[in-house]
Amino acid sequence: MGKLYDQLMEDVRFVEGLNACMNCGMCTGVCPAAEFYDYDPRRIVDEVQKKDEAVIEALLKSETIWYCGQCMSCKTRCPRGNTPGFVIQALRKLSVKLGYFTCSEKGRQQFAIKRTVGQSILERGYCVYPDIVTPWMHPEQGPNWESIYNNTEEFMAKLDIPYKKDGAGPLRKIDQKNLDELKRIFDVTGGTEMYDCIEKYSAEKAKEMGVDIENGDYLNMVFKTNSDYDE
């Protein structure tokens, strides 16, 4: 394993996303996450470009790299052609790869996303599907959604949507052949490996924290814990 900075340099997004930052602050000025979190993309880019291994390691274990919402507004504005959002992606990927993501509360959430969106891709062929937008996980979806969710089949039928049916069209069922192709792509491109990484390190962390991962306690915990709210 090379130095952290060298590992980051292996990611094309990092190479593309980081030229030389002059700390003008345009990215932070427009960043939605900087407004609502203690988050400063400029500082992250500046810290990374210093190539200090200890600093990078601290970042990989930090909360701060997980705040970015990936809107990429920073890419539009940077006068040096940097993309802090890409740098964040590279940092997060390395954090997952090295298992550092479990060091932070926000990083641990990767497990919840993997178990929901991640699973859905391989099981249904799409990231999002009505079945996974459960009202208890998504109270903000409101009563209309709740009634649709409870009668999806009937509702979609009335709208003439081929929900879980064969053939083309929205919400149709993806056949196994295509799902198999997706899985093989995941296998050869490192997608499966990354999923496994999330599972493996999360299981280790769950054990360390004494939280049961099998019965869903760990998932529930990472899905719902936000220390900022407790203050």
Partner: protein
């Protein structure tokens, strides 16, 4: 024409995007099909039946993994290869143009093609991955457009068939429309969006062509707050809603009649967060105290073309759309909202 308009026209002139004329390979959106399946159907219907265009809706199409990618579940190469598979499916089906329904996908496809230009070795690597996994090969698309680009392109043709312009039938005034553009539509590659990143034309062009008045407001360019992991994980949703709230508070003084978005996620969030804020804080936005309806551009196009609101799936919105329908003078049967209307 005012100085301001001239300046905007000059700006838009710089961003004349090439949009294919016909024969599109259609790329489905995870979020749109989940929350606005009827919008999708309306889009296909408008393109095919109203505009006589050829679109191929491929049963083999899957997600591009964009949400997982931006949530850091999968590496870049996985997403690239899944997208490459779509290129292969398109090539196999004999198409060269893509119409992409999802803004995240659109941004990713654009980014991918850009990356391959700059880093050809990356393209070679992905071709190899795709071959290894699926034995498929592909040609890169000649043209990729967001589905809103195609509607924008044919906005005048739609206007010609329009039955319900964006006009308040009671006052005769044009409806005031707030446009919201998905961040990944043009912020990453301003030249790939109609009108660029700062004053995008894609939705305001439709609004103007169909008789409405687009509203500019200070937080127009701000993200809706989706933020991938910031919404997907319950604990983080405070961020997501706060960003939408920031937008609502900024747009309210302009008294907009409705919001229109080209990104499926944004349209959904700008709808649902109004409900959430109302429930959590008691604030209802909108001049009439009934919320500001947040439509997809397909729904907007469907309404002006005289589609039945419940066929367009407007009942899936949490903010009631009836006041808007009333303003536009659209007839609807309240009882059909949930029971459906067989046609």
């Amino acid at each position: 024409m005012s100085e301001q308009c001239v300046a905007k026209q000059n700006l838009w002139a710089k961003y004349q995007k090439d949009i294919a004329d016909d024969h599109y390979y259609y790329c489905r959106s995870c979020i749109r099909q989940t929350f606005f399946p009827a919008s999708e159907r309306a889009y296909l219907n408008i393109m095919r039946d109203k505009l006589g265009k050829d679109l191929f809706d491929d049963p083999n199409h899957t997600t591009c993994t964009g949400i997982a990618y931006h949530s850091d579940l999968v590496p870049l190469q996985t997403t690239e290869t899944v997208i490459a598979r779509h290129f292969a499916l398109m090539t196999e089906a004999g198409y060269e143009n893509m119409a992409i329904s999802c803004v995240t996908s659109f941004g990713l496809y654009t980014e991918l093609l850009h990356t391959w230009e700059e880093y050809p070795e990356e393209e070679a690597r992905v071709r190899q991955y795709l071959w290894d996994a699926t034995r498929r090969e592909f040609k890169k698309p000649k043209n990729i457009a967001h589905t809103s680009d195609t509607i924008y392109k044919f906005r005048n043709e739609i206007a010609a068939q329009m039955t319900r312009p964006l006009v308040n039938v009671k006052t005769g005034e044009p409806l005031k429309v707030v446009d919201h553009i998905g961040c990944h539509y043009a912020k990453m590659f301003p030249t790939k969006g109609v009108g660029g990143a700062e004053f995008p034309r894609v939705l305001t062009g439709m609004v103007e062509a169909w008789g409405g008045t687009p509203i500019d407001y200070p937080e127009r360019r701000h993200c809706c707050g989706f933020g991938f992991r910031n919404y997907l994980v319950m604990a983080n949703r405070g961020y997501s809603v706060a960003n939408s709230k920031k937008k609502f508070e900024s747009m309210v003084p302009y008294k907009p009649d409705f919001i229109v978005a080209n990104c499926p996620g944004c349209a959904m969030f700008l709808d649902r967060w109004q409900y959430t804020i109302q429930q959590m804080e008691g604030t209802t936005y909108g001049a009439d105290g009934q919320g500001i309806p947040s439509l997809t551009y397909e729904e907007m196009a469907g309404l002006v073309l005289g589609y039945d609101p419940w066929e367009l799936g407007l009942q899936m919105h949490q903010v009631p759309v009836e006041p808007l329908l009333d303003k536009m003078g659209i007839q609807y049967t309240p009882r059909d909202k949930w029971t459906g209307k067989k046609h």
